[in-house]
């Protein structure tokens, strides 16, 4: 079972790294985030040893970066016909889905490992609260995992990478931003709380402030699981069509 998942993950990672996508996504992400921190927000002149501003931006960056990673995963398989190969090899559907998830997740983790250079090199300049940074990193990884699940699910619905990208970005945008509705208009408390409970951003906020709340962890884990489950169902459902 695990061996099957790893077989898929290995193949996916080979595909990612044999094509320029993985490198481009990573490079653009790191450059963009650094520009955001140092140029737009004037991190050094401001003189505050706090990366919150860096992590607050990440949800919005994910709207574009996660779909860029996940858009091809299923759409490309369907378009090239390799889906047929994959589904006729002795894999179970959930193994395929988890394999693909792990590959994209691995890419994300590598990306954030590279971004660790930032706090480490800045640590000479000021007193960072490492507990907060650890919480921020944990939050970002969980948050990214949930976004990847959404992206993979949307990708499984289409055979066109571009469409997959646009709809993943749109879906992520909605899920991430939905709690902002509360700030713009006065809503009854029940609805407001409900929107907050749905929103990625709301659950991420605590992490970016440095708080690790098990409810937030559970939220991201459940959302990831939910969309991966749907993804598996799509694969089975399509056999009936």
């Amino acid at each position: 079972m695990l061996a099957n998942i790893l077989t898929i993950t290995k193949k996916e990672l080979k595909s990612y790294y044999n094509s320029p996508i993985a490198y481009i996504v990573k490079a653009v992400f790191l450059v963009f985030m650094s520009l955001w921190l140092f140029t737009v927000n004037q991190f050094i002149p401001r003189g505050i040893a706090d990366l919150r501003i860096y992590f607050m931006m990440i949800p919005y960056v994910f709207i574009f970066f996660i779909p860029a990673i996940t858009m091809r995963s299923w759409a490309e398989e369907r378009k090239m016909g390799t889906e047929e190969l994959l589904l006729t090899l002795p894999f179970k559907e959930y193994e395929l889905v988890l394999g693909k998830f792990m590959a994209a997740f691995f890419l994300l983790v590598i990306m954030f490992c590279a971004s660790l250079v930032l706090p480490v090199s800045l640590s000479a300049l000021g007193d960072f609260e490492w507990g907060q940074i650890i919480a921020q990193y944990i939050g970002v990884i969980l948050f990214g995992g949930a976004c990847i699940s959404v992206g993979l699910f949307v990708s499984s619905l289409s055979r066109n990478q571009i469409i997959s990208f646009i709809f993943s970005a749109l879906t992520l945008f909605l899920i991430i931003i939905i709690s902002e509705v509360n700030r713009m208009i006065e809503l009854p408390l029940v609805i407001g709380n409900f929107l907050n409970a749905l929103s990625f951003n709301y659950h991420f906020e605590a992490f970016s402030r440095g708080l690790i709340d098990t409810r937030d962890i559970m939220y991201f884990v459940l959302v990831s699981g939910f969309f991966l489950y749907l993804n598996g169902k799509v694969l089975v459902f399509r056999k009936w069509l």
């Binding site: 061996a3 099957n4 077989t7 290995k10 193949k11 080979k14 595909s15 044999n18 094509s19 090239m80 016909g81 390799t82 047929e84 190969l85 589904l87 006729t88 090899l89 002795p90 894999f91 179970k92 056999k239 009936w240 069509l241």
Partner: protein, 317 residues
């Protein structure tokens, strides 16, 4: 080995396969023959577990393909239509992926990978990206993928499309060799291919089986009568005409042509019993005619195919 019962598949309102049934026995090479859109590929997709049937059942080794998907997938080597491949991997990476997927390990894994590389002639392109391969090599990489785990059953969807004549011969040869120990189903719309490789043929048209059997069997069933071209040397052509009518092995004289005074060219339709041909020979001898040529007309698969599939098409219109 493979039992298909009343199998049907609808794509929305389009009925791609309309209740077909057939068996494939151990070690047989069966050809699915039919024009494009006849349902060959759909049947193969159901056999391999890529699609579920709308109705009907497929049993492989007495196990249902829907309920025991993974056991059955492990037994099958499948080359889908157009040989889809991961174009951003190289051939070696690709074969390694499939070997992993097929749970090959250690010595056996090395052995099998080497075997398919040799057998499919992939050595020269092993470290090339698949996207850079020619159509022929892509097809071979697909075949290598299908055979890497030495499956009991090979299902090959149009394995020779897009290949040049030499490559076609190579691939057919390979399939034939493989087919000796495996149960094989290949689909094609190339008639010679079936005649060259298969023990048995299923002819499909518009989602239905219109004929099945060996090419000879189908031929006999279809033409219903046996035709014979006969050229005789006789003393006097005048008397022969009456004798022909009296001969009880001849159903009907289709062509009667006096080439000269002593030479007769005939096309006869024979009575349908198995000794008719022998009877004709004995009859000519007893009458003192000399046989210059005696050629039973063989119905070709091409004729069968055109007859069956055109007729179906006409009915539909």
């Amino acid at each position: 080995m493979i039992e298909v019962k009343n199998l049907g598949k609808n794509y929305g309102s389009c009925k791609a396969v309309k209740g077909v049934g057939f068996n494939v026995h151990n070690g047989e090479i069966v050809g699915l023959l039919g024009p494009n859109g006849a349902g060959k590929t759909t049947i193969m997709k159901i056999l391999t577990g890529y699609l579920y049937p709308t109705f009907g059942t497929v049993m492989i080794d007495s196990k249902d393909v829907v309920d025991h998907a993974n056991t059955i997938k492990a037994m099958i080597g499948y080359l889908p239509e157009n040989s889809p491949l991961y174009t951003d991997l190289n051939v070696y990476e690709y074969l390694n992926f499939v070997a992993d997927a097929r749970h090959l390990v250690n010595e056996q894994r090395k052995e099998r990978i080497q075997w398919v590389i040799d057998e499919c002639g992939l050595k020269s392109v092993l470290y090339k990206n698949i996207s850079e391969l020619s159509k022929g090599f892509k097809q071979r990489a697909g075949l290598a993928q299908a055979m890497i785990h030495d499956p009991k059953i090979l299902i090959l969807d149009e394995p020779t499309t897009g290949l040049d004549p030499n490559q076609i011969l190579d691939i057919r040869d390979l399939i034939k060799r493989m087919g000796k120990e495996k149960t094989t189903i290949i689909s094609t719309h190339i008639l010679q291919e079936v005649e060259a490789i298969c023990n048995r043929v299923l002819i499909l048209n518009e989602g239905e089986i219109v004929a099945q059997g060996t090419t000879e069997e189908i031929g006999k069933e279809l033409k219903g009568e046996e035709l014979l071209h006969l050229t005789l040397k006789v003393e006097d052509t005048g008397s022969v005409k009456q004798e022909l009518v009296n001969c009880n092995n001849i159903e009907k004289v289709l062509v009667y042509e006096e080439q000269d005074k002593h030479r007769l060219k005939l096309k006869l339709s024979l009575k349908s019993h198995k000794d008719a041909l022998e009877g004709i020979f004995d009859w000519t001898v007893s009458k003192g005619y000399k046989i210059l040529a005696m050629v039973p007309e063989k119905i070709s698969l091409e004729d069968i195919f055109i007859k069956l599939t055109r007729e179906g098409g006409d009915n539909a219109r």
